[in-house]
Amino acid sequence: MTRTLVARAMHLVAALFVVSVGAFALFALAPGDPAEAILRDRNEAPDPAQVAALRQELGLDDPLAVRSARWLVRACRGDLGHSWRTGAPALAEVARRAPATLQLAGCSFLLVVLFSVAAGVVAAFNRGRPADHVLRIASVLTISLPNYWLGLLLISVVAVQIGWLPVMGRGSPAHLILPALTLSAGAAALQGRVLRATLLQVMAADHIRFAQAKGLPPRVILLRHALPNALPPLVTMWAVSLGHLLGGSVVVETVFAWPGIGQLTVTSVLGRDIPVVQAILLTVAAVFMLVNLAADLVNRRIDPRLDRSGGEASP
């Protein structure tokens, strides 16, 4: 257990290192002179002397090796540089936006769990019957809806035409409803399908047949005997769904003017604010990897067999 844990942690650090090297490489990817871009953002005329002075100040004229080494050393100390647009520390910019995204992602996550478990259980329970087919078609449709368009539709119908909920922005709990619904729809549909498949797989096991032979009612078999055994893949899936939600938040936050990390990503990319983009990528990667590691550990608690076989926690 400890050995696998240490190995996983080492692997995590290695991957995070590669992410940070990649993040540094973004400097090269962004065309144009950052010094010029900064000056333009500050609404100052970029005359050559000023550009040269700023390049000196940012250390842009040093050799690439020196720059990357300096960047890595600072990154290890938690200093990812300053935003080129606002001048604030890049990590502080991310931290300032984090609560809004956590709130949105957290609520969406609850909706995903609720809807996917309901849909998966109902579909598996009614396998081959009309409810199963309806759910199948409904999920394929939901997965096919681009989330920004779903958001626009919801805004247009619920907020503008009927006027039940606020159009956009963040504030009261009512502001949260439409973005959370938009963000969770696709992931919920996808996971409902996966849960259905997992449940059907579990239902084919011997202990289920025994429970059936014993004469237990189907509902009890499904909820007490099948669902707990479908839990480990479900936990893995929930961890992955965090990636869906964070990735989707880039789009959904923009649609709903939700002041979170997703919106910050778009404005930073559009404004070529590389330090903030780097800070976002590193933070999100670290969070995502830790959540996956946590899911793995939880699975080993739920199902000790995973530990003995030394296998990965996926089905």
Partner: protein, 272 residues
């Protein structure tokens, strides 16, 4: 489950219709997709303009049809490039020896440590914003998914008995790859292409919508939705048409993928 074949038929017919519309756009579009006429701005649907006109008086239907060319064409190029890159890297990991495999493994893990959509937005946005930027950004963001899939498929293909037999009698190099390994990968890779196609179409239009992808005035569906957004209350038809188009294209791919998935082998879905 009944209807797997039906789903595939419906999905591929929808794909065919959209593909034909895209190819025939220059002949069937009633107007020039870029010709603006301020006198005709925000017209509701009428016989002359079946889907109405947009905020500077361009024909929405014509833009939609030309947009099919742009959106679906970009998606096709992206898919082809990503599959190719992923295959080369995945096969290199399988046959390139232990060190290459390890190095590729770490890179793949690093790329998969980030939510695909977020990485795509960042890479495509910084590389572009343009059509080439979209293709390169999407490829750079999703090669890892393909490399991992190809590696796992090739690893199991390599251990098949007839492959072991061929190697035992001295078949190696390109011949082993082309005659013995690749034919085994064709089926699962095609299923994976159908599965990813919908995602790629959504990503391209989302990039256009966010202003990080194909730029206006090009009639890209996502960019059209972004422009329509400002006229949500006064001209709702502007928002419906491109949205339905994107959904139809994605639905076509997903129907095929859903049907194919339950017909035979099931490709890994967890990274979608």
């Amino acid at each position: 489950m009944i209807g797997n074949r039906l789903l595939i038929v419906i999905g591929s017919s929808l794909m065919l219709v959209l593909g034909l519309a895209a190819l025939a756009a220059p002949w069937i579009a009633p107007h020039d997709p870029l010709a603006a006429d301020p006198a005709l701005r925000l017209q509701p649907p009428s016989p002359t303009f079946p889907f109405g006109t947009d905020q500077i008086g361009r024909c929405v239907l014509s833009r939609l049809l030309w947009g099919a060319r742009l959106s679906l064409g970009t998606a096709a190029v992206t898919l082809a490039l990503t599959t190719l890159v992923g295959m080369v890297i995945g096969l290199a990991a399988t046959f390139g020896g232990r060190f290459v495999d390890r190095a590729i493994g770490v890179a793949v893990d690093a790329f998969l440590a980030l939510p695909g959509m977020m990485l795509t937005m960042v890479l495509a946005g910084l590389a572009g914003p343009s059509t080439v930027g979209v293709v390169l950004g999407l490829t750079a963001a999703s090669w890892a998914w393909w490399a991992r899939l190809v590696r796992s498929l090739a690893l199991s293909a390599r251990e098949q008995e007839y492959v072991l037999g061929a190697r035992a009698v001295g078949v190696h190099g390109p011949r082993l790859l082309l005659r013995y390994i690749l034919p085994q990968l064709r089926q699962p890779l095609l299923a994976a292409v159908a599965l990813r196609a919908g995602w790629v179409i959504i990503a391209i239009s989302a990039l256009g919508f966010l202003g990080l992808g194909i730029q206006p005035p090009a009639p890209e569906w996502g960019a059209m939705l972004q422009e329509a957004r400002l006229h949500l209350a006064t001209a709702p038809w502007l928002m419906l048409a491109p949205g339905v188009a994107v959904t139809a294209a994605v639905l076509a791919c997903n129907l095929v993928a859903e049907g194919a998935q339950h017909l035979g082998e099931r490709p890994p879905r967890e990274l979608l």
